[in-house]
Each structure stands twice: as structure tokens, then as C-alpha cells.
């Protein structure tokens, strides 16, 4: 059963924030699935990439070391947006999938959860899907999330 199917648009002003999506599971299920995708991943606009690289390098590198980084723009192959998914059940943190692939599927179950998430029997209760917006450089990023609950009768 699909519990949620949502596309959320994020912008540079959402950079370094968490977007919380609460949802409720009304009865125990055997598996909760989270299909996530976001686009764009890679910043294709060369002018934007150039601006992002050059306007930030000085924030991190001490002045005396700046010459070491003067070719930075040429060295940066891909500049990317990074959004990750973390999950909570009631007051318990269930983990996070901190990796770069822009299309990911995760699941929670008692026997095993997908990498990044603790084993968790999907009991009825309040859950939170939290999108961690680590970095947005593109003018707009679309995040698509589909949450599916699988019940006993569906898996037999």
C-alpha cells in the first residue's frame, strides 16, 4: 500500500536544512519501503559551477595556501547536489543513507534493513522521513519520495 507519493522542490535557500515528512502507519506491516530520487545531481551549467568553485574556495583555505588550489576549478570534475534520507520511528533514530547516488531504494524490516538503517519491525505508529539537504547549488532540485508499506497478506 502506498502511504505517500510526493515530489518536493528545493532551492538554494533550503541549503543546510532538514525537511521533515511525518507519516503514520495505522497497523503493523512487515516491510516499509522508501523509493527516493532527486534531480539534478550534477551541476551541468559551467558558469554556475565556476562561480560556485571560485566564490567558495577562499572560505576554506588559509590565504597562504591559496596558490596550492589555484587550479581548483579544473580539478573539480563534478559539482553535485547532495540530499540524503534519514528516518525516525517515534523517538528513535533509525539511521540514514549517506551516499551520493541520486536514485536509491531503502527498506526497514525486522530481519534486516537496507544499509544505513537499523533493523526495525515496522510497527504501527508515527514515523518521520527527514530529507537532509546537505548541499544545493542548482537553482532547483526536485526530490521524489514514495513510501510503501507491505503487509503480511501481500508478501505471501
Amino acid at each position: 500500500m502506498i502511504l505517500l507519493d510526493q515530489t518536493i522542490l528545493f532551492h538554494p535557500e533550503d541549503d543546510k536544512t532538514n525537511h521533515v515528512i511525518p507519516f503514520t502507519l495505522s497497523r503493523d506491516c512487515v516491510k516499509l519501503e522508501f523509493a527516493c530520487s532527486y534531480t539534478p545531481k550534477v551541476i551541468q551549467d559551467e558558469a554556475l559551477k565556476r562561480w560556485a568553485v571560485l566564490s567558495n574556495i577562499g572560505r576554506y583555505v588559509p590565504r597562504y595556501q591559496l596558490p596550492l588550489y589555484q587550479d581548483m576549478y579544473d580539478q573539480v570534475e563534478d559539482l553535485v547536489n547532495l540530499l540524503t534520507l534519514s528516518l525516525d520511528y517515534e523517538d528513535q533514530y533509525l539511521g540514514c543513507a549517506h551516499r551520493h547516488a541520486p536514485i536509491q531504494t531503502h527498506f526497514l524490516s525486522a530481519k534486516q534493513s537496507s544499509p544505513g538503517f537499523l533493523r526495525h519491525h515496522p510497527a504501527a505508529g508515527d514515523y518521520r522521513a527527514v530529507i537532509n539537504i546537505h548541499s544545493i547549488t542548482s537553482p532547483e532540485v526536485a526530490f521524489h519520495l514514495v513510501i510503501t508499506a507491505l503487509f503480511e497478506e501481500e508478501t505471501v
Binding site: 576554506y60 539511521g95 540514514c96
Partner: protein, 330 residues
């Protein structure tokens, strides 16, 4: 009785963005003759579920950690008794979170403080405005696969020294930040050595060593630095009084030798750094195990030992260093 053991203190598996499994990480660390590895996946503890007594028996003990991968900096959290949420940390409120971790007996370390931040490596640069330094226990001053050569480690090392000079008590660590088994077998890998009780390697003893400052970093030989004062010996992280003291030091080249002796690493001298300045340098004779002692008048502040020598064709390179012994006004 404190014994120093060799660790990799920063690693990732496929539970975050690494390609290692927990098991393959442990196997790789065993090949490196390590005594323990800290599993510090980004923002998750799910890899801990794969740590079994059988795995630790076959490979090596795994220290339970997590790398807080926040929007404003990365922080290594080792051995906390409970999870503290990383998601709400901001530059202004970080003290509240380090306090909670510290109250849960966790050791808190600033990871790679001078890595490039967003948009290059998201949140990798330390931008937190810490006011309560007592809840931060160490700084990862050597980071990355080639820690002796990474340019960003130089300001990180200086940051550590500056913080010590401001009166804060902080140990220092090294972390390869190991994500995948991509290092050739002949890749040189410096280590963090932790002074653990009775040589026991566990999450508890590792976090206690970090919190107490019983930590040194070496690219090669085992190091020893103690201060004798009024008939008592004091190790790394301890506090002594200013005034007359004896510095006791040791360099042991028989430790994990096969892991570093083919990299042109030749120890030449030990130096004592007090309050940021080199106050004493002692030439080594080249013996396998060397130790010595020197009478020295301590000023208030801190003192650490640094090891210098040849490294891959370059002379007088920093090859290792200890965390400080603190000197209080008598």
C-alpha cells in the same frame, strides 16, 4: 597499567558511502597489523549490527563510533552510550550537542577541520563556533590516505596547537578516512595509538583513552613520553606542575615494522615542543629501541614530543607526535 595499541580511527562501509563491508574492513585492518578499528559511518550506527564476537575473534576488535556528518562540520563520536541527533546542530548551538555526547561518555573529535566544505565536500570544513571546548576531546590533525602530504592537514595541525595555547586540553588523532580497499598493500598508513587499560581493546577503553588524552600518532615507531616529577611518573594527557622535572622518552622501531620500514622512513631525532615552540631536540643513534631522559624546567602550559626524520626522500619530516602533557602553575 596503560598499554598503547595501534588503531585506524576513521572508517566507512556501505552502511554509508564506503564500499567496504564491515567484515572486509576488519580483514583489511588485520592485514595492517592493527589492534583495533573505529567504525565511524556517516550518520548511522547500522554497521554495528554486523559486529559479532566471531568477527572480532577472527579479525580485530571494532570500536563503535559514528561520524557526525553535519552541514557545518564533521565530528567523530566514539563510544557514546546513547545516540545524540546530529541533524539540528548549527554553528551557534554545537556546545549543547557536544555536552550531551560527553555526558553519555562519548569521546568527541573534530574530523579533518580544514577539508574543503560545500559545495566541494559537503559540510567537511569545521565551521562550528565552539564555546565549551571541554566537551571536545581531540582533533583529527592527520587525515586522508596520505596524511603527511595533504595540504589541509597543515592548518589543522596549527589549529590544534593554537587551541592548546589558548589553554584548552585536546588530544590529536590520525584517520585514513578509509572508504574502500583501494590502497595498495604497500601504501603507507600512519596510525593512532591509544593508551588503554591493561592492553584491553574495546569501545570502552578506547573512548576512555581519547577522553583522557592518552593518544599519540605515528607513521612508524612506537613512541613513549612521560614526565617524572617528585618521584612520580605522568603520561600523556596528565597534568604536572611547572618547575623541575625529568622528561622520559622512548622510540621503539620494532613495533609494526613491516608496515612502515619500506617507505624510506628513518627516525633521526625527537623534539620537545612547549607551548608551540621547539625547546629541545635530541639526536637518535638509530638503535632499534632507544630511550633517554633529560632534566628540564617546565613552564606552565603544555608539552608534547614530536618525532622527525627522513620520509620518502625528504629530510626532517614530522613522522609522529604525541598529545600533550599539561603543565600547571606550581
Amino acid at each position: 597499567m596503560i598499554e598503547y595499541k595501534a588503531f585506524e580511527m576513521h572508517s566507512h562501509t556501505f552502511h554509508s558511502d564506503g564500499t567496504f563491508s564491515v567484515e572486509s574492513l576488519c580483514q583489511a585492518c588485520k592485514v595492517r597489523e592493527l589492534d583495533g578499528v573505529a567504525l565511524t559511518d556517516h550518520n548511522t550506527m547500522s554497521g554495528w549490527e554486523e559486529i559479532t564476537p566471531a568477527l572480532e575473534e577472527q579479525t580485530l576488535p571494532v570500536i563503535r563510533g559514528i561520524e557526525w556528518t553535519t552541514f557545518y562540520g564533521h565530528m567523530l563520536v566514539i563510544g557514546a552510550d546513547r545516540y545524540v541527533d546530529w541533524r539540528l546542530a548549527t554553528p551557534e548551538n554545537i556546545d549543547r550537542f557536544t555536552e550531551a555526547i560527553s555526558a553519555a561518555n562519548g569521546a568527541v573529535g573534530i574530523a579533518h577541520p580544514f577539508s574543503l566544505g560545500s559545495p566541494f565536500c559537503t559540510g567537511c570544513h569545521w565551521e562550528f563556533r565552539v564555546k565549551e571546548w571541554k566537551n571536545i576531546h581531540y582533533v583529527e590533525v592527520w587525515s586522508g590516505p596520505f596524511p603527511l602530504f595533504e595540504p589541509y592537514n597543515e592548518p589543522g595541525f596549527q589549529m590544534w596547537t593554537d587551541l592548546l595555547n589558548q589553554g584548552h586540553r585536546l588530544a590529536a588523532s590520525c584517520g585514513i578516512d578509509w572508504h574502500e580497499n583501494d590502497l595498495e598493500e604497500n601504501h603507507h598508513m600512519p596510525v593512532t595509538c591509544l593508551g588503554v587499560e591493561n592492553g584491553e581493546v574495546s569501545t570502552r577503553t578506547a573512548r576512555e583513552a581519547l577522553r583522557a588524552g592518552r593518544v599519540y600518532v605515528t607513521g612508524g615507531p612506537a613512541l613513549d613520553f612521560q614526565i617524572e616529577q617528585s618521584g612520580k611518573r605522568h603520561g600523556l594527557g596528565a597534568a604536572v606542575n611547572s618547575g623541575a622535572a625529568t622528561l622520559l622518552w622512548g622510540v621503539d622501531q620494532t613495533a609494526r615494522t613491516s608496515q612502515w620500514n619500506s617507505f624510506g622512513l628513518i627516525p633521526r631525532r625527537v623534539a620537545f615542543i612547549q607551548n608551540g615552540g621547539e625547546v629541545l631536540s635530541i639526536e637518535l643513534s638509530g638503535q632499534e629501541k632507544e630511550k633517554g631522559q633529560t632534566a628540564y624546567e617546565l613552564w606552565p602550559g603544555w608539552i608534547r614530543l614530536e618525532l622527525y626524520g627522513d620520509y620518502q626522500g625528504r629530510a626532517d619530516q614530522l613522522l609522529g607526535f604525541t598529545s600533550p602533557i599539561y603543565v600547571e602553575k606550581d
